[in-house]
Structures are given as structure tokens and as C-alpha cells.
Assembly symmetry: C2
Homo-oligomer: 200 residues x 2
């Protein structure tokens, strides 16, 4: 055993193999690739990882990843336009930022309401969301939760929690995705798209 | 742009995405996972990468990855049993070490003969292999090259280069892989297995 990929490299492979989307085999391939390209790949990656590991933290305001007390979005005054988009987690926030021209700020729940995982309103930072309404002069809260049962439940809960604060609560439209072929869409999506049909 | 995954994290994702088997999407997932598990995953990985990047080098003797002048295998006197197994690259060496009980040493070519990639005998360290025969009292050279055209060409070249040195040259047997179903095997393998059939 000690004769094959030497200790340190074994350890590195084991660590890489724990990343989502990588298994032992692909981890080995990745490590080999890095070993072949030490200066171009491995060293920059090591530096970058160390830097992020040291700097990255949670944005005090929205739960996004930040390198300071506030994330780049909360720190950007132009993004304080009175709109807050509520997302389940940071991957969704990144997806929103990639996709659309949303110019407001976010609130990252870090999950959905779930009795099993003991995720209650407090864990999801819903009180924190409510506290943001006043200071950030929020006029609209856009619920961009996943179109799952958990997402829908959470969305309804948040909508009710926000009701007393007289803020407009909206949610992403459901319908046929771009380039979607009806034939391949589930019935739920089709009926939702039909119910939400609009005049051309 | 500067509003989404902040600079450092963007850079980290871009670096991860360059690893084989990872794309932008899976790199994002991996980085998010690491950010969520900073102490358990990200920091150990950063340390491990830095350590390997600093220590790993090529074994002076066989071309394996080493943390010293000699790799663990060449440094291990018990492995100096007069057998050298020639492999195309380190991944193959690891595969041999995983799979079988080979107790000799290796010689890593780092590729196959190829006019296109300007890989000649010197690039493949074939002279170096010949120089190892005497000092390591090599009695047998086992060619464990991939069963590809390039592998076969290279194997023949090495066999001829070794002929004058009166060393036994063998190659891995070809045949039906363990658990292989004839129905799914290519004709080449079947006919090779038939030609090499042995008495039960």
C-alpha cells in the first residue's frame, strides 16, 4: 500500500474524492493532471484555495458568501433598490446573478422549512429578512424558491410572515422553459403554464 | 459580473473547472461544497495541495512521482527483485499497484512512440531503461503497455532495443477480462483469447 501513490498524494486524492461530482477514479485523474501541470494548475489552485478558505465568510446581511462583513452585492449601494430576492441557497443566488438582470439584493435562506432537518423560521433567517424591510426600504420581496413541495411550503410561510408588513410579495412565474418542448414537459408545468397564459 | 461569486471565488471556480472530469457547473458545486465545509474540507484540501505541490517531483530512477530523489518503490530494497515493469504513465503504474501483486520496480515512459508528438526513444527514457539493467541486475522486463496500436508499436520497439542485452522481455497476457461476457467483447479480444487458449 505504502508503495503506491505516496502518503501525501494518497491523502490528496482521498480529499478530492470527497468533493461532489468526483469519485476516487476522477479524483486520481484530477490529481495526476495537477501533478503533471504543477506550476500551471496545482500551485495556483493551492494558493487560490488557501486564500478563499482564509477570506470567505457569510455576509452579515444576506447570507451570501462574502470576503468582508458584507458581500459584494449588499456592499453595492446601487443594489439597494428596495427589492429583495429570497433564494434557498447560494447556488440559486449565483444562478439568478448569471441568468437575469435582477438589480436588487438577496436573502439566502440556507434551506427550506423542514421539521425533519429541524429547519425552522429562525434557522432560515426569516426574522432577519423581516428586520431588513425597514432599513433597506424594501418595497418588494421576490420569492425565487425552487419549484418543489418544500420550496412552495416555505414560500407560503414567508408570504404570510410578510403580510403584516405591507410589502409586495411576488414569486417567479411558472411556465414552459425557453426551448422547452411540450412533449417533454411534465403535466404540472403544462397546466401551470396554461393557467398563467397571457395575451399575445 | 463583479457582483456574483466574488473575485477570489470566481477564480477558484475557474481553476477547478480546468481539472479533468470537472466543468464550470461541477466546479461551482464543488466550490460551494467546500465553502460550506470550510474546516472539514476546504482547509485540509488547501494544505494537502500546497504540500504535494511543494514536495512532489519525478523519481530520478523510474519516472514515478516521488517526494524525494527516489520514489517509494525505487527506495524500497525489497522491490529490487530484478523485475522492471514498463508502463506508459503513472496512472498505469498506480493501476498495476492497485491490481496485482507485482513486487518489482517500474519504468514510466510518459507516453508512447509518436512522430506527431515528437515522442522518440529518448523522450520515453528508453536509454535510461537500458542503463538500469546492469546496476539493478534486471532479469526480466515486463511490458505493461496499453493494448492500443501505439502501445503495441512502442512495446515492439522496446523489445528490439532490449534484445542485445540478453534480458527476458515479457508482456501482459491478452484475453477475456474477469467477468467479461463474450457477447460484449470486441472480436480482437476474443480472437486473441482464442489464440492464447490454455489447457484447463
Amino acid at each position: 500500500m505504502s508503495d503506491r501513490p505516496t502518503g501525501d498524494i494518497e491523502a490528496l486524492i482521498a480529499l478530492m474524492a470527497r468533493l461532489p461530482g468526483l469519485g476516487p477514479r476522477s479524483a486520481r485523474r484530477a490529481v495526476l493532471h495537477m501533478l503533471r501541470k504543477r506550476t500551471q494548475v496545482m500551485e495556483p489552485l493551492a494558493r487560490s484555495l488557501a486564500m478563499v478558505a482564509e477570506r470567505a465568510r457569510e455576509c452579515r446581511n444576506c447570507g451570501n458568501i462574502a470576503e468582508a462583513d458584507l458581500c459584494a452585492i449588499c456592499a453595492n449601494p446601487e443594489r439597494g433598490n428596495g427589492e429583495i430576492c429570497v433564494v434557498e441557497d447560494i447556488a440559486d443566488l449565483w444562478a439568478m446573478e448569471r441568468g437575469c438582470g435582477f438589480r436588487g439584493r438577496y436573502h439566502v435562506l440556507g434551506g427550506t422549512l423542514s421539521a425533519l432537518d429541524a429547519m425552522g423560521p429562525d434557522e432560515l433567517g426569516i426574522p432577519a429578512l423581516i428586520e431588513r424591510l425597514q432599513p433597506e426600504a424594501v418595497g418588494e420581496v421576490i420569492l425565487a424558491l425552487n419549484a418543489t413541495v418544500e420550496g412552495a411550503t416555505t414560500a407560503h410561510y414567508i408570504a404570510e410572515a410578510l403580510a403584516p408588513h405591507g410589502v409586495k410579495v411576488t414569486t417567479l412565474a411558472q411556465g414552459v422553459p425557453m426551448g422547452g418542448e411540450l412533449d417533454y414537459l411534465d403535466d404540472g408545468t403544462i397546466s401551470a403554464a396554461l393557467a398563467a397564459r397571457r395575451k399575445l
